[in-house]
Symmetry: C2
Subunit: 356 residues, 2 copies
DNA sequence: GGTAGCCGTGTGAACGTTCACATACATCTT
DNA sequence: AAGATGTATGTGAACGTTCACACGGCTACC
């Protein structure tokens, strides 16, 4: 057991009969330490229960062993307020903490305004206070051009999540366009000839990519773009519900809906229920976000499983490597998965289709 | 805009024509600074974009401006792995980050093994590395007697969540027994005469308290304890489903179920569906955990809304006060709320009751 | 009118670590 | 055998802040 006062590197040095620096070399796995001495030091560390003080390490010019993950403040807080969970945050913690722990790092999570006028200052303040070894930018911050530059100026490696990869920073992403194209193609293969894409917000770069995938699949199928329509749901239940109702009650309604997030997919379910449309017999619904709510709802929804935790874990891993002298740029593409559950099925037979 | 190299207190001091210490007094809101000088320093801080370095502050013997929240590693990771969300984690972040931000603090979230043999060492390592100004212990760590003592020895204030309050530490809690009694009484008032409590695990102290409330309400109602039965669901879907099925298929099945968490409540819904029991017409189901899944499921469940975010926020607030010289003990009781939704209703008429 | 006390400010040291450099010894080269 | 190279270790300074204390000026009291 450690004694009351904190154990410092000096105590370990004395116990092992070496100097501070040698102990430092051992804990940082540096070269040029005799195996015998290394063992002696390690024994002393274990005996005294020594754990290096992170603040002091940072002060000494070393690493802070902190990875800062920044999230969209408005959306996160809105989700909290509304009593909806933040599955994204949960997944992020999953990947981030798990990976950081492996390397003796700690993940620290902060909220930053999306407003481009204030975001740089907020990030600047956070890094000035925390001095993290790396920063993870999540959507929509990952689409901000100013933030990575600001970090680069201060020599802090930066990883962007879910962004079309560039060459200057670490980009971790999945192929959003491909995923959108795949789910669209799958619905077309099921016989659907009129499809709708319930879009989030153009503020999120991913929205644009997914829409492109939707259009591409329509074109590739031979149905042509006219077979698809787009509704703006703004990622929100109420907005989406209104648009979806408009879509489903018009003359030639779509038989398949692809919603960009779970909330809008639930809105679709809700509207279908209200209009007496059976899912999936009369209407297929797919979500682009595979949250617990989506998985465990009744019926469970077909969805794209985004590798959120994996992306954050990869970002942490890259950032940690970068802070140890590795490259501070590169791109990692992670696979998504289309999970077909109970809300998608063959298109209704044209004859039986209800109109109105 | 801040310049490339980091701005230190010394730069501010020079710009304002004062000494380090005076700047320090200003940023720490210390007394004995002329209003005129204070203004000058504040202007310099704003002009240079100065933000104190947390590591240096800690090294100087000051605060770390870090609150450490520790969670149950096994359960959290199991939830992540299973693809269920961790609403608890999300709520915790909600309360914690929001409150910490207000005071210029940062919340840092760590997982610690529940095993009493390793927990103290893990906590010890975490605080040696991080040197937080306060630690929040969540269930079941809040029931561990050793952890708060360890923290007290190192002079770190500690807040326990959801624990019967003591006198030595900061305890933030809701009345679990009362909540269990209330929901039980409510179901009895709806005419239910045979009730079941789907218990989690005695490892969680709250389980015991809730069970006590359940028994108390039964006794108080005049029905007597014989009207209630207890199933051990271990907080898990599969375990709960099995026990619930056993309960519902026996000779004289309960007409109302109270599950200690959402997962077990969903298990109850699942079993009811399988057995062809209509909810709430033939069976009432209530959850003791009001997660987004519970709120947005179809039908939405009746549940106890625990003030999780509020408890963490209160804990942060108390810890921050304690680290500023306030009392490091005290207890705060926060109100829960019984939210009646669509899964509870009047007991089925005795005549119509199906048996088997 | 001296001295006790408070107010406002500054100075040196300390926190625990790493960095840059210095040193001692061993090994290889010519 | 002398120098060059490399390995293993130690020493002083630095990081940016706060703490403890010192100091000068002002007020107040007897």
């Amino acid at each position: 057991m450690a004694s009351r006062a904190s154990v410092t590197i000096e105590h370990v040095a004395q116990a092992a009969g070496v100097s501070r620096q040698t102990v430092s070399r051992v804990i940082n796995k540096g070269p040029n330490v005799k195996p015998e001495v290394r063992e002696r030091v390690e024994a002393a560390i274990a005996a005294l229960g020594y754990v290096p003080n992170l603040s002091a390490r940072r002060m000494g010019g070393g690493k802070s062993y902190l990875i800062l993950a920044v999230n969209d403040r408005q959306r996160t807080i809105e989700n909290w307020r509304a009593g909806r969970g933040n599955d994204w945050v949960d997944q992020m913690l999953h990947g981030g903490i798990t990976e950081c722990e492996k390397h003796g790092y700690h993940l620290i999570f902060e909220l930053i305004d999306t407003d481009p006028a204030t975001a740089p200052r907020q990030l600047s303040n956070a890094i000035a206070a925390l001095r993290p070894d790396g920063v993870i930018l999540t959507p929509p911050h990952s689409d901000n051009e100013e933030l990575p530059v600001l970090l680069a100026e201060r020599g802090i490696p930066c990883a962007r999540i879910g962004r079309r990869p560039g060459t200057q920073f670490i980009d971790v992403f999945m192929d959003e366009e491909e995923a959108a194209a795949e789910i669209t193609a799958r619905l077309i293969a099921l016989g659907h000839m009129r499809l709708a894409f319930i879009a989030g917000s153009p503020e999120y770069g991913n929205s644009t990519k997914r829409l492109a995938g939707f259009s591409r699949a329509l074109a590739a199928s031979g149905l042509g773009e006219a077979a698809g329509c787009v509704a703006k749901g703004n990622f929100r239940f109420a907005d989406a519900a209104q648009e979806i109702e408009r879509l489903l009650t018009r003359a030639d309604p779509p038989t398949a809906l692809i919603a960009e997030n779970d909330e809008m997919a639930f809105a679709a379910m809700h509207v279908a229920d209200r209009l007496g449309l059976e899912v999936p017999q009369q209407l297929s619904i797919a979500s682009f976000e595979d949250t617990p709510g989506v998985r465990f709802s009744v019926p469970p929804l077909t969805a794209i499983r985004q590798p959120t935790a994996e992306m954050i874990a990869a970002a942490c891993s890259q950032l940690i490597a970068a802070s140890a002298g590795g490259p501070a740029h590169g791109s990692i593409k992670l696979p998504y998965r289309l999970v077909e559950r109970a809300t998608t099925g063959p298109a209704p037979a044209p004859a039986k289709r209800k109109t109105g």
